[in-house]
Amino acid sequence: MSMSERLAELLAFDSKGGAEPMAACALAPEEQRPPHSGQPYVDLRGASLVYGSGGEQMLAIDRLDLQVGQGEFVAVVGPSGCGKSTLMKLVTGLLQPDAGAVFIQGQKVTGPVRNVGMAFQNSTLLPWRTTLENVLLPFELVKPHRQRIRRHHAEYRARAMHLLDVVGLKDFAEKYPWELSGGMQQRANVCRALVHQPPLLMLDEPFGALDAFTREELWLLTQQLWLKQRFSAILVTHDLREAVFLADRVIVLSKRPGRIILERRVDLPRPRSLAHTYEPAFSEIVHEIRDTILEARA
């Protein structure tokens, strides 16, 4: 199935499956994303990044070319210290490349990219805010919501509550982060990253600190949210099963300086279930990626 065909399918899914709950969420017209065009959403062209200065210089990323299509889910894996987190910072404009360039929707990135959802391994929830208040945070910052939230607070609250309901945290909305388990905190963290429906989601080992069962549960949740909102996503992980389960394409980086050594398309049908992960087609891809990483480490 081609990229555009699948996206069309996803669009249909959204208008059917998501129409009713999402109707309440249709706040601003600019949130309706333009239909898929040929232009990639994220485009790294020959991006390099050097850490440190003077004699202690270290090349973290070396002439990296990477495109992420609109609504595409890309996973980046590689040995530790291969510059995965640096890649995240380059794409979000928190760091500027020392050579090459980063483009988002054809626009060259010169400063922090606005309107990106981010989730890290440590759930960076604010401890003085309840779960609900944490999830509402993006609305207080992102335009045009930040001008509206005071007057339309109930509306935004309902929207956040709806998402908390989807991830099963409705009853914990008024609890503080330290009253939640690790898995719940991470779910709230993903909610906060997605509540304002950003066109791009960056996940930096978001489930790395969780136990295996909770992790798999959150894979399903992430897939479900992605199928609904169709954001572009970059997932940095060192869990290969996680990468293959969630992504349309898995990128393998070499050890420092990070270069792409394998690009593997995952053509497994969606929605994927946990049972799929034990099928030969799935294992085959995981093994292929694993072998490439082992070679790179040697």
């Binding site: 979000t92 404009g93 928190l94 890290f120 960076t124 993006p138 207080e140 910052l141 330290w178 009253e179």
Partner: protein
């Protein structure tokens, strides 16, 4: 059940220890007999407080006034300086050595200068209280601000947060427990400053009262002054703690 009796028991502990100290003190004073002129018994002090109530009361109010004013100024300016130092590494580098130097100067050496500048009485007491109380507030506020999680800052910036947004939504709440912890230290230091200045250069306040009483060898009245200051400091400290609990309940987790 067990924990609630424990809590009830713990609430009594400070009263028990205070009472024990007073009883011990009383016994020592009685054993010393006439030599207790230099260490009057708690009963003698209580008597003195009752007797000189009309003198102690206005002087205590005066000390409370200068302390409160000095403390209030220290909180306001300490927060401004602390925020500036915590938010900008340039200001930190420029100002911090000066702050340490200023803090290291014994404030008792500064009182004569304050007297030259501000005369005697209320103003030098306020300034001394301020100069002692401001340092811990500045240091704590700056520390609280500089401990913002780098990843949290990334999250905020990628949501389009301005520096102001990060300061008000992350920096200031993050700093609050540090600020309130410093208030408890600052309020007691403010009392020290006020009494210090009153002892050297004032015609009113508990410091002045104690100075005057000691020059008349009215030892029970000197001790009465000590007790009054201590009581005011304990009450002010507890007040700070209540306020702290109100604002930073999230930082005291797992109860």
């Amino acid at each position: 059940m067990k924990t609630s009796t424990n809590v009830a028991r713990q609430a009594w502990v400070p009263w028990v220890t205070t009472l024990a100290l007073l009883v011990l003190w009383q016994i020592v004073a009685m054993v010393l007999g006439s030599a207790s002129l230099m260490l009057p018994a708690p009963t003698a002090i209580a008597q003195s407080i009752g007797q000189h109530y009309d003198v102690i009361w206005p002087n205590a109010l005066q000390t409370l006034y200068t302390t409160g004013l000095g403390f209030g100024l220290a909180v306001a300016l300490g927060m401004v300086f602390g925020l500036a130092i915590g938010a900008s590494s340039l200001i930190y580098r420029g100002v911090y050595p000066l702050l340490i130097a200023f803090n290291a100067v014994p404030k008792v050496a500064l009182v004569p200068i304050f007297v030259l500048w501000f005369g005697i009485g209320t103003l030098p007491a306020v300034v001394t209280a301020f100069s002692l109380a401001v340092f811990p507030i500045i240091v704590n506020v700056a520390t609280g601000l500089s401990t913002i999680d780098a990843e949290m800052e990334d999250v905020m910036r990628s949501l389009g947060a301005t520096r102001w947004d990060i300061l008000t939504k992350v920096g200031i709440p993050r700093m609050a427990p540090y600020l309130f912890a410093s208030l408890k230290i600052a309020i007691t230091l403010a009392f020290v400053g006020s009494v210090l200045s009153e002892t050297i250069a004032s015609n009113e306040g508990i410091g002045f009262l104690m100075q005057a009483a000691s020059s008349r060898f009215d030892v029970p009245l000197v001790f009465a002054g000590v007790i009054v200051i201590a009581a005011m400091a304990v009450i002010a400290y507890q007040l700070c703690e209540v306020i702290e609990g109100r604002f930073t309940h999230w930082a005291k987790r797992g109860k």
